[in-house]
Subunit: 441 residues, 4 copies
């Protein structure tokens, strides 16, 4: 399961979701709950202090806890048992107020939200780095001519910057979407066994706790999991957008196209027996992750039909799946930064590839130029015929036209990619401007 830790994943994110960290977050919730209850006078400040002191993951026997999950069915039950014992050892009275009024799901869900919050902050920073790299790449290549391809066929010239600007926009959009959903996602779960709150989880306690954990308050969402699902969706979309970038790059790296390359580290992507290969190794990881995320998102969505006030199975299905999604996206964003930051662009090869069709990609230009003198249909007919001849004779379309003495004043211009790139440059510039204003705003 983890042989590929460094290949598919980010070690920082892996660390965040380690067993130990996960338990530590749960202990944070228990400690802060006691503190909130103390601050409202529900329990004594001393007792809260004893509890807080005990909420140290190093005191927890994790293997024992894992074994006992089989009995209780979630991690909070054996954790609270251990925690109570630890507190009891230092102060018997305080041990009565451990997990006071709370239910297992309160602790597990809130701890998950805290982890998600740390992950989102990390992710936002990484997205910003990626955006910066894409801005740099786009600026550099806003005028770098290449062929645009549709249905895997050469179509018309664009600039490489136009392609990367579209990547950039897709990342900015999902960044916005993630931001907008945070408000509903980063909320407390603390309402007791059936979501009705109780004397120990008063409105005041819950408010204090939300404040100290820096989360929004919320009523129970124990079996209403739209926010977790939508978060999974946002991750799925981000993974998909990164997969699109990796798709393009892996295709552009094909031996026969060879326009861009993953950065070259010692031994990376190479093959000892095939020295010419530049394997898209980083792309492969991002692509693999983007193939795995849709199924995980569908699991989150399919788990939403949770029964009554707490589900038997639906809730449990989320635990590892949401974590895996974050871990895969964590890996993909890190690899994407590496990919874009190190991307090598072969502008000459791009220009050469524009010549592969021997002028056919400019046929529309010719037809258009002839329309004024010949009318649209005659012009199209002529060009179609010329193209056919060019293909048969394996000659350049321009040469065919000249051979047939077709008079077009600016014939050479029609076959220049820089005259056929449309508004590529203007579009790129506008996207860069917008990106800057988004990020400043």
């Amino acid at each position: 399961m983890s042989l590929y830790d460094d290949f598919f994943y980010s070690s920082e994110v892996n660390q965040l979701f380690s067993e130990k960290e996960t338990i530590a977050f749960m202990l944070t919730v228990e400690a802060e709950l006691a503190a909130a209850q103390a601050s409202t006078g529900l329990i004594s400040i001393e007792n809260a202090a004893y509890i807080k002191q005990a909420c140290n993951v190093d005191f927890i026997d994790i293997p024992k806890l894992k074994k006992e999950i089989r009995l209780g069915g979630n991690a909070a039950i054996p954790l609270v048992q251990q925690l109570m014992k630890i507190v009891k050892n230092s102060n018997f009275e305080a041990s009565k107020y451990v997990h006071y009024g709370a239910t297992s799901q309160d602790i597990i869900d809130t701890a998950s939200v805290l982890q998600i919050k740390v992950f989102i902050n990390w992710l936002n920073q990484k997205i910003e780095v990626l955006v910066n790299e894409l801005v740099r790449l786009t600026s550099t290549h806003k005028g770098t001519l290449m062929i645009g391809r549709t249905l895997l066929q050469q179509a018309k010239p664009i600039t490489f910057g136009l392609k990367t600007a579209a990547w950039l926009e897709s990342i900015c959009r999902i960044k916005e979407s993630l931001k907008e959903s945070e408000r509903r996602l980063l909320v407390l779960q603390m309402a007791g066994a059936v979501g009705s709150q109780n004397v120990n989880l008063s409105h005041e306690v819950v408010s204090k706790l939300a404040e100290s954990l820096e989360l929004n308050t919320s009523f129970s969402w124990q079996s209403n999991r739209d926010s977790f699902s939508l978060f999974a969706c946002n991750l799925g979309v981000l993974s998909g957008s990164l997969g699109k970038i990796a798709t393009d790059i892996s295709l552009l790296m094909q031996t026969e196209i060879a326009e861009v390359f993953e950065g070259c580290a010692l031994g990376k992507g190479g093959s000892s027996t095939m020295p010419h290969k530049r394997n898209p190794v980083t792309c492969s990881a991002i692509l693999a992750n983007s193939k795995r995320t849709p199924g995980l998102v569908s699991t989150m969505l399919a788990s939403m039909n949770q029964e009554h006030e707490r589900s038997a199975g639906g809730w449990h299905a989320e635990w590892e799946v949401l974590t895996q999604l974050m871990m895969l996206v964590g890996g993909s964003i890190e690899k994407s930064i590496e990919l874009i930051a190190g991307l090598e662009v072969d502008k000459n090869r791009m220009l050469q590839n524009l010549e592969i069709t021997k002028g056919l990609i400019y046929a529309e230009n010719v037809a258009f130029a002839l329309t004024n003198t010949l009318g649209k249909s005659a012009a199209h007919e002529l060009v179609e015929k010329a193209c056919k001849t060019a293909l048969e004779k394996k000659m350049h379309l321009k040469d065919i036209l000249e051979e047939n003495k077709i008079e077009i004043s600016n014939l050479d211009e029609l076959f220049k990619p820089e005259k056929s790139k449309g508004n590529s440059i203007e579009i790129v510039e506008e996207i860069l401007r917008e990106t800057q204003s988004r990020f400043k705003g």
Copy 2:
């Protein structure tokens, strides 16, 4: 495929995505494109008028068009061919300016966005109706006592309004999310073959077109499909939240629980041979839809890795899948309104079911009450033993306690559900207040 049109779907939404309507939306784009080009002086106003006049779905030979899609690979190619002929019949010159500068995907994507826009407006109205029904149901039952259930086991009392308020909140959240994503979703696609725009799709033309179609402008997103995918996700989440409601209701309708029922229409859900049955027919449709949407969302996500400037396969995979998602969600929201509007609640049965455990659901109350006099652990021990005896003797816990002369001043109070419902009512009232302010804001 369509035998179940009336069971899973909404006839209004089915109508919106009929062949004819779909083509009509594409023709609207072609007509408005010509108009925008005329308004900027690129083509004559007369020619635009001829084109607009021809953009009438009744002129289109749909069976022919469907046959020809096999050749071109999308619906715009044969549609434009037919359209050109129709225009040519009325004015030869005008026919030159049909689909002027545009590419197939410009037309298909923009037409899809227009359909989505109509769908979203429809959906928002339906969501509002559902929200109103949920508000009504929640208000009515804010104090209706029932048992809260976790892991399918009776846990503690809540009110039925607390349950429905949580449903209500989940619908309000996804409504917000849909609203927030609209800005990025309801955008024009109009940038020519490779997304670089061209003289016929100038900045000015595109702006005018966006204005007349009441869409936001956008640069090309031909192969950057995050907004469509995220829209699919939002639909998937809504379907999931409706599925959660149907899950709860279908479980509450079980013969052995019988607390709520789908409204009773003549013959609905009944069985001629089994007169006692109240089949959750409407729930079954909503549940089935909620099982189908996650797979469709995953398809949208898995189709995001689209190659270069237009994909071979990825784009095509979206067409029917996104439509199916909207159709399924259209059906689910209509059925959910019907479900909630007609829901029958048996308050007496809810009260009876609170008695099924013979007081065991109040064991915690007793333990809590005894804590002050006995201390926490002795109190728990006593109650645990009493519960065991109650189970063995099939007696009521209260009777066991009285038999054992356990002195608790307010013993009767401890066994009243209205004393054990926590802040159910306050929470419901707060949620209703928030819902109102959300909808006024």
Copy 3:
């Protein structure tokens, strides 16, 4: 939903799953049930004859039936009601024995199995045609040299036949798997409301019915849906294997590679404005279908957790999803036959593409040849250096070696693709032999 009927689907399969045909299959089950009950003396032969006569889809008011599905929750309930009336009109007594002892699911499931049986027969025929086309293509090109590609990079020479033989094997394997699962799939469902059979569905009746419908007998599988799910899986795998073929072909059709092409029909895959394009139109349909099937399979699997003796939602989710899967696979197999039958192979281009790396793809040959004289590591070092020089100087590796006077007796041989194709031809021949024996066996 159906604008793309001819693009993604097979008209024959669409026809099989039309509303009318679906109802006709249900009526067949009702008619044969009565006949089986008559043959065992349970009902009179006359009554069975009246019922059979009435089981004509042309007598059914389909729009009315569709409306009424909302009430009963499935198509059998209103169908039986209509059928009873029709029978009653001709013979009152006979009407008592309509649907005698059966439950809705008996009729719907058995009718589905009958449709599946027709579909499987159709599919098997189509698979055989595809296999024949693949055998032909493979035989023709067993020695056609081309480059093998790994991770989208040129690796080593193979023959085109080796590639197509691997496609062929994958189709033969899933054909076998489909065959093996038939026995468990093509079974009767006829056990009454809760699967316990009854006096009217005696062992004898059920046996007779199975015999007349040419299905295997089975006990109730009303909520145990493994066979339907596994059938969906087999379809998903077939769709995936066809998608793999379309992936390869669409990549080989890239302008820069141009080794194979979809057959060229008038107007197919062409672009009026881009005459050089050979769009992979058929591939796009197959690829789109292969992107859609995994999500549908996951829905079938996710619907397996069906409650008790008949599910509320899980069963209903299957209806359209399994049909869609068959329809998509029906389309994909037809398109794949068209694709393979019409495939154009450019052997010269394949040879040219073998030269793109200027000999680097043969570097391993050189290293191997030098190992005997220099030892492995020195040989590798030398070749690695030579390759580097070749890349820098943009020269052919052979020229670099000659320039450096590296002595290898058979240097020219090392750079011939036919000497580097391994056992491609022998493997192809063996696969063709095995395919023949499988199909005769």
Copy 4:
């Protein structure tokens, strides 16, 4: 990721897929490849012996290997590098023949197949245990009366054995399917970089290797992944069938139904604060797993469109996903054995629940009995009216009938569940017979 190792998974299966074991399997392939090459005289027996000796996972620096996967893109590349060094240390000459003629994918795929083989053997044993438990449970309860439920409503009596026999059959069917697919699944992958074999991977070498690894031979399936996908599907179906069992049990455990219970271990499923709860903890794990497998299966299917002779991303996506599937199914089968082996059945409660509708579940019996005297329609009318009265007056249907002096000779008989269970017992006995003959056959 692994906090829930003991909850969702099997420790034996986890162990099989540990990093160390995974590498050990790869080393086995390398060792046996050298041995096969020695046995055919391609390399010396001594060299093969040196290689075999070095193929010890304890010699491998796993952290280093994991780091280096980032560069090469798979685990075989750095493993072979380490292995070469280890061999070189003992014998320089032998080191030349490490991984001789093989490609990374040969090693990784074959090692995966070996792991799968061990897993399948383990799984088959576990399935047999489960089958035995289900046979035992079914035999015990072949006559245990309970209500059959459709759409979550009480329908008609069955026996508990009929329900469990249907579970049993579903497990036997997937067992057969798994068995049938083994032949195509448990095959060697050993054909070199592009699947064309080579002098070092001759037909003879490959045959010997297959023999020593006890796998079937096969030509390259490097990018034709139908067998892995179909295996994933079979696992998905098994997981679904186990999920169906857990669905039924969790529903039967509801407080209001309380007919069966998970076995009671100290502290299992209990709640300290809610002593009456019998949480379906084991069911929750099985249900969660069954919600997670469909998405993973869809990922396997969606990854089938692998490019050319080795995929960039598609292959990589399989690695962890197939492993996760095996691990989840490993967990589910172990938990299911525990669930069935420890299942507690409350026959009395089943009988009591048959009385809940106050005779309405027998209405059809009454109507049938009256048909002879009154005719079908009059009989139905009468019974319908009686049922209505029974519901309104909350009286037993039999009492209503008696009150209204409806004369039926055997009235009491009509209301006995044992007279309404159809062929439940005969069906169970037949299924048990078939199961025995399947397993002996």
